[in-house]
């Protein structure tokens, strides 16, 4: 009895929590005449997926999607590459200044975007990288690296050193040990970190908004954020864009939830 009651409470809470998402989902399938109608209804007889195809004509969402994919994938590859090198150094070597370097990365995680954006904007303009993929990828990589290093450092620490020592005795070099032993063992952790990196870049709005200016480089969050209620009243198409845009993160997260949360908890507990 008590269990049933608690389960009911949990379900009601889930509905309450998901209300904004469910309402957006409902809106994304209504024609505009139904969207702008009082009283509002959850469902209607004329529901269809039309707004999902219409939005690609109203705004260049296809280009935005491509841009988002290019930027997020490139940033993920770069952060994983440079992040695992740094995390390897932190977890397997003792060297002078180690604590200070760790501190630098920890603190740069807290850096407000607002305090670097103006010079960054000027710098990118000067070197011709303003409003380009490369510019945005470099910035996203830099912004994501500190946390990626922390996450990977945590995962690398959980790999027993004995296995690696055995490999070293067998004549492997350090780098071979990293490539052949640590990386495969840390694969679940690396996957979770890749997810974090991808989501971080995919969802990032502030830098993408200010460092791009044309449709050929704008990412989806910029497309959505810039036009919400400002220039357009096509709520159903915006809702469709919002739903489509949220699907990749939700799938990725569902796939790697367990490892990701484990890494996060380890990171926060450090």
């Amino acid at each position: 009895m008590k269990k049933k009651l608690l389960s009911l409470v949990m379900i009601v809470l889930a509905l309450l929590v998901l209300l904004p998402v469910l309402w957006t989902l409902s809106t994304s399938m209504k024609p505009l005449s139904e969207v702008n109608r009082y009283p509002p209804e959850w469902t209607s007889s004329t529901m269809s997926l039309k707004p999902y195809s219409d939005m690609f004509f109203y705004l260049p969402f296809l280009t935005y999607t491509l841009n988002s994919l290019v930027v997020a994938c490139s940033s993920t590859v770069l952060t994983l590459l440079f992040g695992s090198l740094a995390a390897f150094a932190f977890s397997r070597f003792t060297f002078a200044g180690k604590q200070i370097f760790l501190l630098i990365f920890l603190l740069s995680q807290m850096l407000p975007g607002a305090s670097v954006i103006i010079p960054l904007f000027q710098l990118l303009q000067k070197v011709g990288l303003y409003d380009t993929y490369v510019g945005l990828i470099l910035v996203h990589t830099a912004v994501l690296l500190p946390f990626v290093i922390w996450l990977l450092y945590g995962f690398f620490q959980t790999i027993p050193r004995d296995i690696e020592d055995a490999a070293l005795i067998d004549g492997c070099s350090r780098m071979t040990a990293l490539r052949k032993i640590i990386l495969p063992l840390a694969l679940p952790g690396i996957g979770a970190t890749a997810l974090f990196s991808f989501l971080g870049s995919w969802n990032e709005f502030f830098f993408a908004l200010i460092l791009t200016s044309s449709d050929s480089t704008r990412t989806i969050p910029v497309g959505i954020g810039l036009f919400v209620g400002e220039y357009l009243d096509v709520w159903n198409q915006m809702a469709a864009a919002a739903i489509l845009f949220s699907i990749p993160p939700l799938i990725l997260f569902t796939l790697t939830r367990k490892t990701f949360i484990k890494g996060l908890v380890a990171g926060a507990g450090k």
């Binding site: 608690l6 389960s7 949990m10 379900i11 809470l13 889930a14 998901l18 209300l19 904004p20 998402v21 309402w23 957006t24 809106t27 702008n36 009082y38 509002p40 590459l81 090198l85 740094a86 390897f88 070597f93 060297f95 501190l103 630098i104 920890l106 603190l107 740069s108 807290m110 850096l111 407000p112 607002a114 305090s115 670097v116 103006i118 010079p119 960054l120 000027q122 710098l123 470099l138 910035v139 830099a142 290093i149 995919w202 969802n203 709005f205 908004l209 969050p221 959505i224 954020g225 919400v228 209620g229 709520w235 919002a242 845009f245 949220s246 569902t254 949360i261 908890v265 926060a268 450090k270």
Partner: protein
């Protein structure tokens, strides 16, 4: 050669940190004492002039107050909700717990821009479902504009922010709850302690370290948060929901006063650095205990 290996491994990551974070930070400091223009760049020193402009601007003080409320109240509320949900999930009711745990995490996975959009639409004065329910129940008049009213705009944005942040707290709290040694509860049960007593004397003290980390992290992140306010209100109406990160953009890229924008961002940086050191203190204390 071997001695240098760790440094070599750090070089790429450090280069990124230097070029994209350290250099702009220094340049920003220089700009804040200079006369800067978007087109011609720096054209000379102006001393504390930019800072004077910032501190004399009533909008700065208003944003500062808004940001503090947004960060502190929002984080505390998110932690309370996150803890409640974690306690509920920790009852371990079987399969339903796993499913609900995943559903409760969704707001955190969704992009802030999408979250802002969804809330803005949900709270829409005429066609939003919330206003329809509230007016049908006779609580408010139809057409009450939550985001268009200076008295309620900030509160609405904060609500959306809480919605996005509580799952993070929930996940961390849940891990914290699961690491509390079961013997403590068993001993308390033998002593005949009530559920409420057990909560206050075992659960809460054990979560103290996690709570302080979450609190400081949450305040830092919310203090930095640009997205939710920008998407939902852009700081309006009549600047009633203006926060510092949005104001930096306003000064620099809307009014094109880069000097004033830089000075403001140095102020934001100083505030954040203070908070970050607080964070370091909190985690180092957690380590020693």
């Amino acid at each position: 050669m071997k001695k240098f290996t760790p440094y070599l491994l750090l070089v790429p990551a450090l280069l990124f940190t230097v070029f994209v974070l350290a250099y702009p930070l220094v340049q920003n400091l220089i700009n804040s004492f200079s006369d800067v223009s978007m087109i011609t760049g720096r054209s000379g020193w102006t001393g504390l002039q930019n800072y004077k402009h910032v501190f004399e601007d009533t909008l700065f003080w208003r944003s500062f107050r808004n940001t503090s409320v947004y960060a502190v109240v929002g984080t505390v509320m998110a932690l309370v909700i996150g803890l409640s949900f974690a306690l509920l999930l920790n009852l371990k009711l079987g399969k339903i717990t796993t499913i609900m745990g995943a559903l409760y995490t969704i707001p955190w996975i969704i992009s802030p821009v999408v979250a802002g959009f969804a809330w803005k639409w949900l709270l829409n004065d005429r066609f939003g479902i919330v206003n329809y329910w509230l007016s049908s129940a006779g609580i408010v008049n139809l057409g009450t504009s939550w985001l268009g009213n200076p008295g309620t705009a900030l509160m609405c944005v904060m609500l959306a922010r809480i919605w996005q942040f509580y799952p993070f707290a929930m996940v961390i709290f849940l891990a914290g709850l699961q690491s509390i040694p079961q013997e403590q509860y068993e001993a308390a049960a033998v002593d005949g302690a009530t559920m409420i007593r057990r909560f206050f004397h075992i659960t809460l003290p054990n979560l103290k370290a996690v709570t302080s980390v979450l609190l400081v992290l949450g305040v830092i992140w919310s203090f930095n948060d640009f997205n939710m306010v920008f998407v939902m209100t852009r700081g309006g109406p009549m600047n009633s929901s203006m926060v510092l990160p949005v104001l930096v953009r306003e000064f620099s890229f809307v009014n094109f006063d880069l000097g004033k924008g830089s000075a403001l961002s140095v102020v934001v940086f100083a505030l954040l650095t203070t908070l970050s050191f607080l964070y370091l203190k909190v985690i180092s204390r957690g380590e020693s205990s």
